[in-house]
C-alpha cells in the first residue's frame, strides 16, 4: 500500500473525480480540517439533494413492493447487479427528473392512503359512539328551549326509565323532570332529561351526582343522519384508496428505472461527499489517499491523461488499509477471513492457509461424494446462470472447493449419499453387498461395491479420531509456523525461537512419542528426548522478561502450564470425526427408511419421496454443521496462535451501487 497525493487544477475537478470514481483505484483519506492556506468547498446542499433523492427512490421502491410485489425467484438473491453500458448513465441522468417526479407522486399517494386509513379509523370510532344514540331524533347538541332545559348525555349505570326517575327523585325530591331512555346496557345509559328552565341548576346538580356526562363530540345533526354521512365518507375514502393503490401499481413498470436512478444519485452524492473533504486553494485542489502499490502506474497515467496535475506517491504507515490479494484458490476464503477481522499492520495474510484447511476440514466433516458432487454442480450452475457479484461469487466458489474436498473425503470414507448404492442394489436384487471394506476388516467375505478399502467412521472410529487429532496437530503447527514467520519479519528472534519454535518442537516431540506408542519403541525415546529438551528450554527461556533468578525460574515453570491449552485445542479436532460420522449415519438412516417398503410400485414412490426428503434434510443440517465447525476450528484453534487482526479493508472511492454495474470498457 502506498499513499498518494494528487494536486490538480480546480477546473479539472469534475473530470478527474469522475475518472477516479470509475476506476476505483484510490481510497480517499478525509481529515477533519483543511491545512493552512487551503479552504473547503461546501457542497453539502447539493449532496443533501442527492441523498434525499436516494431516500425518496428507496421509499418509492418499498411502496411499490408492497403494492405490487416483484416477481422474484427463490434464487434471486444470488443474482448479480444488472450490467449496463457506460453510455446508459447519460440516459439515466437525462431521465432522472421524470423518475424523481414519479417517485414523489408514489410517496405522495402512499401518504394519502395512510392518511385516509387513519381517517377511516377515526370514522369507525365515531360511528361506534353514535351507535348508541341511534334512536335519538334530535341533534346531540340540542340546547334549551324557552322554558325547558334539555340534558342529553350518558350515565355510568344501567337504568330503566322507572329506575332513573326514582334515582333522580331520590337526589332531589323537589325536581320536576321528564326522561327518555335512548339506550341502555350494563354500566351505560344514554338518556334525555327535560326539566323546567327555572330548575336547571338543581337538575344539573342532581344529574352530576349520578355521574351524568354530555357526549364527547356533540353534533348539530340528528345522530342517524350523521352516521349515514360518516358511512358515505368512509366509502369515499375507501374508493380513493383503491384508486391511489391502482395508480401506485401503474408505476410498477418504472421499477427498473427507479433503481438505476437511485444508483445514479448514489454515485453523485458519493462524489460530492469527497469534494466536501478536499482541500482547495484558489486554483488547485488536493486529493490524498491510499493506493495499492501495483496500481500506482495506472493511476499516474490516468491522472495525467484527464487533468493537469501532479501525482506524488509515498510510503504508507501502519494505519494504511489492507487490500487482500490472492490467487483463485485462496480468494474465496478472504470472505471468511474478513468476517473475523482484516489483517492488522503486523499480520501476514493467512488466506492461502485458511483456504486450504477450510476446504480440507469442511470436506472431512461433510464427507459424502454424492453431496460433494451436488455442491460442485449447484454452485457451478449458479455462477454460470446468475453471474453473481464478486462477493457472492467468492462465496459460491468457496463452496465449490469445499464440494471437491467433500467428494474426495466421501470416497475415502466410502460414502455416496450414505450407503445409497449398496442399499438400492440390495433392495432390488435381494443380495447382500456392502459399500466397501473398511481398512480394519479387509478379509470380510461379503462383496463390496467400491474396490478400494475405506476408513469407515463407524467401524474405525478410533483410527479416525487419531487421524483427526493428527490433522489438528498439523493445523496448529501451521498456525504457529505463521507466528514464527511474523516474529522473524519483525526481527523478534527470541519470540520466534523461544516462544514459538520451542513449543512447536515440543508438540512434534509429543507427536513422535505418540507415534512410537503405536509403532516402534525407538520413537518413544526419540519423542521423549525432544519433548524433555524443549521443556527444559522453555523453563530456561520463558522467564526472561522477569526480574531475578527466582522470578525467571517461576516464570519458566509456569509457562509449561500452557500445555493444557494445547491439549484442549487438539481434542477439539475430534469434531472432525463426530461430524463426519453424523453425515454418514444420518444418510444411512434415511436410506434404510427409504428402502423399507419393498419393490412394489407404492414402495418405489415411497422410496423416492423419503430418499429426496431425507437427503435434503441431511444436506441442510450437516452442511451447516460442517461450515460452522470448520469456521470455529480456524478462528479459535488456528487464529489464536498468530493472527492479530484489527486492520481496515481497502475501500476505494468507486461507483458504489446497489442495482447496476457499469461495464468496463473493453
Amino acid at each position: 500500500m502506498k499513499t498518494v497525493r494528487i494536486i490538480a487544477l480546480r477546473q479539472d475537478r469534475k473530470r478527474l473525480l469522475e475518472h477516479l470514481q470509475d476506476s476505483a483505484l484510490v481510497q480517499i483519506k478525509s481529515s477533519e480540517k483543511s491545512r493552512r492556506g487551503f479552504t473547503r468547498v461546501n457542497v453539502s446542499p447539493q449532496m443533501q439533494v442527492f441523498e434525499r433523492n436516494v431516500d425518496l427512490t428507496q421509499q418509492a421502491l418499498k411502496i411499490l413492493d408492497n403494492a405490487k410485489p416483484e416477481k422474484a425467484g427463490m434464487l434471486a438473491s444470488f443474482k448479480g447487479r444488472r450490467e449496463i453500458d457506460p453510455d446508459e448513465i447519460g440516459v439515466i441522468a437525462a431521465n432522472a427528473k421524470e423518475v424523481i417526479e414519479a417517485c414523489s407522486r408514489i410517496v405522495e399517494l402512499d401518504k394519502e392512503c395512510s392518511d385516509n386509513s387513519a381517517e377511516q379509523i377515526r370514522i369507525k370510532t365515531q360511528l361506534a359512539q353514535l351507535e348508541s344514540w341511534n334512536r335519538l331524533d334530535i341533534p346531540l347538541n340540542t340546547g334549551d328551549t324557552k322554558s325547558t332545559a334539555v340534558f342529553i348525555g350518558s350515565l355510568p349505570e344501567q337504568y330503566s326509565e322507572q329506575r332513573l326517575k326514582e334515582a333522580l327523585a331520590a337526589e332531589n325530591p323537589k325536581l320536576e323532570f321528564e326522561t327518555e331512555i335512548i339506550y341502555s346496557e350494563p354500566n351505560l345509559t344514554n338518556a334525555v332529561i327535560f326539566a323546567p328552565k327555572s330548575q336547571k341548576t338543581m337538575a344539573d346538580e342532581a344529574l352530576r351526582a349520578l355521574g351524568f356526562a354530555r357526549p364527547m363530540s356533540p353534533t348539530h345533526k340528528i345522530p342517524k343522519v350523521k352516521a349515514q354521512r360518516l358511512r358515505d365518507q368512509s366509502q369515499r375514502l375507501l374508493r380513493e384508496n383503491e384508486q391511489a393503490q391502482q395508480e401506485i401499481a401503474s408505476f410498477a413498470d418504472m421499477r427498473d428505472k427507479i433503481k438505476c436512478t437511485q444508483d445514479y444519485f448514489r454515485f453523485r452524492s458519493d462524489k460530492y461527499r469527497v469534494i466536501n473533504s478536499l482541500d482547495h486553494s484558489k486554483h488547485v485542489f488536493i486529493i490524498e489517499g491510499y493506493i495499492p502499490e501495483e496500481d500506482c502506474e495506472k493511476l499516474e497515467t490516468l491522472c495525467t491523461r484527464v487533468a493537469t496535475c501532479v501525482v506524488e506517491f509515498g510510503e504508507a504507515g501502519d494505519n494504511a488499509p489492507v487490500k487482500l490479494k490472492n490467487n483463485k484458490f485462496a480468494e474465496p476464503a478472504q470472505g471468511i477471513l474478513t468476517m473475523y477481522a482484516a489483517p492488522g499492520a503486523t499480520d501476514i495474510d493467512p488466506s492461502p492457509v485458511l483456504a486450504f484447511f477450510f476446504y480440507f476440514f469442511f470436506g472431512m466433516m461433510f464427507s459424502d461424494a454424492g453431496y460433494g458432487i451436488l455442491m460442485v454442480i449447484a454452485t457451478g450452475l449458479m455462477i454460470k446462470l446468475f453471474k453473481p457479484d464478486k462477493k457472492m461469487r467468492n462465496n459460491l466458489k468457496l463452496f465449490q472447493f469445499c464440494g471437491v474436498s467433500t467428494t474426495i473425503w466421501g470416497l475415502i470414507f466410502g460414502s455416496i449419499f450414505g450407503d445409497a448404492p449398496a442399499a438400492l442394489y440390495n433392495m432390488f436384487t435381494g443380495s447382500n453387498v456392502v459399500m466397501a471394506h473398511s481398512i480394519s476388516n479387509m478379509s470380510d467375505p461379503t462383496p463390496a461395491l467400491l474396490p478400494w478399502p475405506v476408513i469407515d467412521p463407524q467401524k474405525d472410529a478410533l483410527t479416525l479420531m487419531i487421524i483427526s487429532i493428527a490433522f489438528g496437530l498439523v493445523h496448529i503447527l501451521v498456525g504457529m509456523g505463521c507466528k514464527f514467520i511474523v516474529c522473524i519479519k519483525q526481527k523478534d528472534y527470541p519470540g520466534a525461537f523461544f516462544d514459538t519454535g520451542l513449543w512447536m518442537l515440543m508438540l512434534i516431540g509429543f507427536a513422535v512419542l505418540a507415534a512410537g506408542l503405536i509403532t516402534t519403541p525407538v520413537l518413544i525415546t526419540v519423542g521423549a528426548v525432544i519433548a524433555v529438551a524443549c521443556a527444559v528450554g522453555l523453563v530456561l527461556t520463558q522467564g526472561r522478561g522477569k526480574k531475578g533468578i527466582v522470578g525467571k525460574a517461576i516464570g519458566g515453570l509456569a509457562s509449561l502450564y500452557s500445555i493444557t491449552s494445547y491439549i484442549s485445542d487438539l481434542l477439539s479436532y475430534s469434531r472432525l470425526l463426530a461430524l463426519g460420522l453424523t453425515t454418514g449415519v444420518m444418510a444411512q438412516v434415511f436410506n434404510m427408511l427409504a428402502t423399507m417398503m419393498g419393490t412394489n410400485v407404492l414402495g418405489i414412490v415411497f422410496m423416492i419421496v423419503i430418499f429426496l426428503l431425507g437427503h435434503v434434510i441431511n444436506i441442510g443440517l450437516n452442511a451447516l454443521g460442517a461450515y460452522v465447525h470448520t469456521m470455529r476450528l480456524q478462528y479459535v484453534e488456528m487464529f489464536s496462535k498468530f493472527y492479530e487482526g484489527g486492520g481496515k479493508e481497502f475501500e476505494p472511492f468507486s461507483l458504489n451501487s446497489k442495482y447496476i454495474k457499469i461495464q468496463e470498457d473493453k
Binding site: 453424523t582 460452522v628 470455529r632
Partner: protein, 160 residues
Amino acid sequence: MFDNGIFFTILGAAIATVLAGIGSAKGVGSAAQTSMGVLSEDSSMFGKMLVLTLLPGTQGLYGFIVGFLILVSSGVLSGTPNVTLVQGFAYAGASLAIGFGGLFSGIAQGKAAVSGIAMTAKDEKNFSKGMVSVTLVEIYALLAFIVSLLVVIQVSNFAA
C-alpha cells in the same frame, strides 16, 4: 427380562435419544423464540438467525446417532438381537454420556444462542463472533458423544 440384555439395550438407545433430544429441543426452542422476535423487526436476517437457532440442535442428532448405532450393533434393528446382559448394561451405560451431556449442553448452548441472536440483532457484523462463541459449548456435547460412540462400537466384542 434379565435373561439377556435386550431390555437394557433398548433402554440405552432410548436414554441417548430422549435426553439429548430434550436438551436440543429446549435449546433450539428458546433460540427460535428469540430469533422470531428479531425477525418480526427485520426479516432480512433470516439466514443468520437460522444458523444461530440451529446450533443447539446437534445434541439431539448425536443422541439419535448413538441410539441408532446401539440398535444396529445389537442387532435389534435387523430383528435378530443377540446381546448378553453385560452387553446390555454396557449399552445403557454408554448412552448416559451423550444422554446427560447432550441434555445439559443443549440447554446451555440454547442460552448462549439466545445471547448470540441478541448480539447479531444489534449489529450484523457480530454474527461470526456470536456463532463461534456459541460453538464453544458444543465441544462438551462432542466429547460426550465420542465417549458414547467409542464404547458402543466396541460392545459387540465384549465377552459375556
